[in-house]
Assembly symmetry: C2
Homo-oligomer: 354 residues x 2
DNA sequence: AGCGGTCTTGCAAACGTTTGCAATTATTAT
DNA sequence: ATAATAATTGCAAACGTTTGCAAGACCGCT
């Protein structure tokens, strides 16, 4: 790389007529500086167009004002939303964001964690839908500030975490569908190795049990949070000798697939088939009919995670805080009582416990 | 940050019984190393779990194996797709990705460029839908490797660029609609300060002129590539005393809004109103009716940009290459001949030139 | 005027790496 | 065998910053 040598702290020092340490201290807000010199330094910085070299700063032991974010897949709107809110919150706190994607390759996680925490960043956020792993233990032992963001609640007992009541959210959907009168409710699961998928499946079963409805394994079809698998799943579900009157998809994208299969068979939603999703991605409100789903507080999650990380950086020894954000059932137009039931099913008895 | 001191190159050197420079050379693939020592070093690296400190490496003048990517908005699927393909291509080339979002604040661009190019990254990619700016000139003078990705073709004459034939794409849509028989075609523009928006508007006008159709300013409504504005625009367009029989939206998201307004008025697409979009985001194929649109080669763009940047890093003095990728008209179900025209309009004469 | 203390300031070391240079050793050609 | 050449290696300097330490300047007090 040719071109003019970048201006360093020493250039500024010369220009301002002070020592380079003084420049450094001015730039870092060190308290005891003669106002006059401070002014001269600031002017010189301006005049020369100086800006700090982050490499050198963090090598020398200062903070880099950069935080790392590891996500497993940028493609889905869920991730995109959370990333965006983190990015905004971070900008507010005068931090830069470095983003890494694992593309679902779990073995890359440890590699990235290693790269980033070797000086590059002051803190780490992880948006990875998986269980506890050894590198977290290491991070914790090193007292390296980090935060986990996930949509399930069970994690280890030392990691600062932001999660949601997504299990309850899934339960709420089921309760709603059951209250509408549905008794055969199909369920398209999420990707089985994600804990959130297991949690939602559990909630599905728990709700059935709580309202005394039978559990028919044929109504549960394994998906992976993607459109294609959900399309196949829906086809299978609707081909059942006794098809479901409602389908609950483990995420919105899967619910879109249900719409499309239904439409291709001339089934109207919700008249002939009720559909519910999960996540409330922006798209869901625009669909026709608008999708009934569970809103995950995506923006709030990013903000909470940022705040938590800032706190942890300020005091790496503080006990791990665990923030749980509420989900919310968003009732739109995609569900109604089943067609061949004369009247909405009224659960006469209270459920057997939640 | 407490915890065990990270293992450095010197630790490895001690463990392997060689000098630290040798370790560095082994790690950087320097050719003249005794095979025996190389093996010992590699073993020591493994045993100690060493990994390089990127800060120090780039400070010392080596390459950081990190490239920076500045985008203006992560939220839209267009960006997300390109980012993803860049990320993948980069991983392939053994580079890390650092991502910055400007959230549409143009003044942040220069700031980020400055931060990143001061040692942090070996090269820069910019996915910013705007015209030439001073910092590009600087970058070029410093011979700092960078690549511009944009969906319009006119840029400066020194920047390596990846763009698409999006102007032609817009023209193709118009030609298609005109061939179907439409004579009053509404146009919802993109965000006016984006060059791509201006280009598409131009293409709209050019096509009209080429086929001898009148240009009615009332049929052009300013949008901003977002849903809401497009919704308003569509409402206005359909409220016209002589409403259009087709609407061409400058991007897919805007076309979705057209769908929704049409539906809310009981208009069927395409029977009562033809709709065309631009971008071919994945969603578009799933809509009902599936959206006719122009496919931008999002994945190919990311790949081309990565290759271009790699080449530029290898030889910063090579002349700026400009890659133009073809768009493609994707005909699906959202357009058909206008209802009240007895027969599809057949352009008898060739257009007056393209 | 002299004293203890608090502000300011600069020097130098350190962070972990790459790389030019020079020294040493191995290889080849004569 | 000898000179020339090539391969291999280590030392030390450099990259741009932060920060501990110590010295000088300044303050208020007696």
């Amino acid at each position: 790389m040719i071109g003019p040598r970048p201006v360093t702290i020493k250039d500024v020092a010369r220009e301002a007529g002070v020592s380079y340490s003084t420049v450094s201290r001015v730039l870092n807000g060190y308290p005891h500086i003669h106002p006059d010199k401070r002014r001269r330094v600031l002017e010189a910085v301006d005049r020369l167009g100086y800006s700090v070299n982050l490499q050198a700063r963090s090598l020398a032991g200062g903070h880099s004002q950069v935080i790392g974010l590891i996500v497993h897949d940028l493609g889905n709107p869920y991730t995109a939303q959370v990333v965006q809110s983190i990015d905004e919150a971070l900008a507010h706190a005068e931090y830069e964001l470095v983003l890494h994607t694992t593309h679902g390759h779990h073995h890359k996680e440890a590699v990235y964690v290693d790269i980033l925490t070797r000086g590059m960043v002051d803190g780490l956020m992880m948006l990875i839908p998986l269980g506890p792993t050894p590198y977290l233990q290491q991070l914790h032992e090193r007292r390296f500030p980090y935060v986990i963001i996930c949509d399930h609640q069970q994690y280890d007992d030392f990691s600062p975490t932001v999660s949601t009541t997504s299990r309850q959210g899934a339960y709420d959907v089921m309760r709603y569908l059951i209250a509408l009168g549905h008794r055969r409710i199909g369920f398209i699961t999420g990707r089985p190795d994600f804990i959130s998928a297991a949690e939602r499946l559990e909630a599905y079963k728990a709700a059935l049990a709580a309202y005394g409805l039978p559990l028919d394994p044929a109504l549960i079809y394994t998906g992976d949070y993607q459109y294609r698998a959900a399309y196949t799943a829906t086809t299978a579900l609707l081909d059942l000798p006794q098809p479901p009157t409602a389908i609950f998809a483990a995420n919105d994208l899967s619910a879109f697939a249900v719409y499309d299969v239904a439409r291709s068979r001339g089934l109207r939603v919700p008249d002939d088939l009720s559909v519910a999703g999960f996540d409330d991605v922006p798209q869901s409100a625009y669909m026709h009919p608008a999708l009934t789903t569970v809103r995950q507080p995506l923006l709030a999650m990013g903000e909470a995670a940022t705040r938590l990380l800032m706190d942890t950086i300020a005091d790496p020894n503080r006990p791990a805080e665990r923030i749980v954000l509420p989900t919310e059932l968003i009732i739109r137009e995609s569900c109604q009582p089943p067609a061949h039931s004369e009247r909405p099913f009224k659960p006469s008895a209270q459920p057997k416990g939640e």
